[in-house]
Symmetry: C2
Subunit: 217 residues, 2 copies
Amino acid sequence: MTSSAPTPAYRRLSVEERRSQLLDAALGLFAHRAPEDVSLDDVAEAAGVSRPLVYRYFPGGKQQLYEAALRSAADELRHCFDEPREGPLLSRLGRALDRYLAFVDQHDAGFSALLQGGSVVGTSRTTAIVDGVRRAAAEHILRHLDATDPGPRLRMTVRVWITAVEAASLIWLDEGKQPPLDELRDWLVDQFAAVLTATAARDPQTAALVHALAGDV
Amino acid sequence: MTSSAPTPAYRRLSVEERRSQLLDAALGLFAHRAPEDVSLDDVAEAAGVSRPLVYRYFPGGKQQLYEAALRSAADELRHCFDEPREGPLLSRLGRALDRYLAFVDQHDAGFSALLQGGSVVGTSRTTAIVDGVRRAAAEHILRHLDATDPGPRLRMTVRVWITAVEAASLIWLDEGKQPPLDELRDWLVDQFAAVLTATAARDPQTAALVHALAGDV
């Protein structure tokens, strides 16, 4: 909410506000175009500001803009997993997924462009940003599972499920956003319970968690 | 195809043999270095041939070499899924996974470099090659499942499991190839059965397949 009149190009914004305004504009553009096709000039136009201003904020050009947008998206995605440790675990997971999937829905093509590899502006640095989100999500889940010292099988299960969520989101976008989001969310929660239960058959630590989970619903 | 003999000075190989020798050398290098750090000169040295020869085969330079290596790896990976439609389905899946994981084991860092996004030589074309392998794997599995007209839930389940296999392979490499390969293979087969069973709870088509599968073991 802003109290001043909407004259974006001339209204005085703090450096942080301006930066975030420009990143919002960039994310909007990434939703319809591949990152390599978004120029700083496009961002200036979309944000209604002068080109020199955008260049001042992103002197590193397209690559810097892309990385900043990716970082900003990564921060938003990290927040999706902020969930109080209260109530049944699968309901918490469902709420986190609702937020995550809302982000996917909102940014659609931009989500694919930002999180998928294979872009000419992708580098090991951008891969690291995306991997950071995956790692943070895995840590959140393990904390919610009360797994203080998770063994390799449990960690593998959680990490692989997270990439499954990502893959399912990309497929969902690819299929014209079918099935409805709440069905996709329920399916992902089911899948989580299923893969955890499958791992439990071979891993005592996971078995103990699944046992605790069963009493939790 | 060129009609002139490429290298009278060296051992006589056919164009195809020579090309495949160079790609093998490149794949060997990708196993220890990021694709962008592998030059055509390195490939010449590794293959024990002259630099001009390598340049003649890959006039497009590094990018062309990388794409050719990716295509060659993709072909190899596709063959992993060639499995006769005989015997219990989960055993067939286990054998296909054995071949896939042997490829991962053999090419290790090269597998990550080739299949993971985020490389500066990655483009939408290289992404399409990797996606082609995923799609081929999904089609193989659906054919083995005798799913002639797979619905969206079944397709989603199979496609997501395939990315789970990929993610698990990358994590396995990252964790110093732990657990042992046969344990990883069994875990992945278990996961397949588990995710299919979870989908079956909401999807009649998948339920019918799981029912048939149960009588199949």
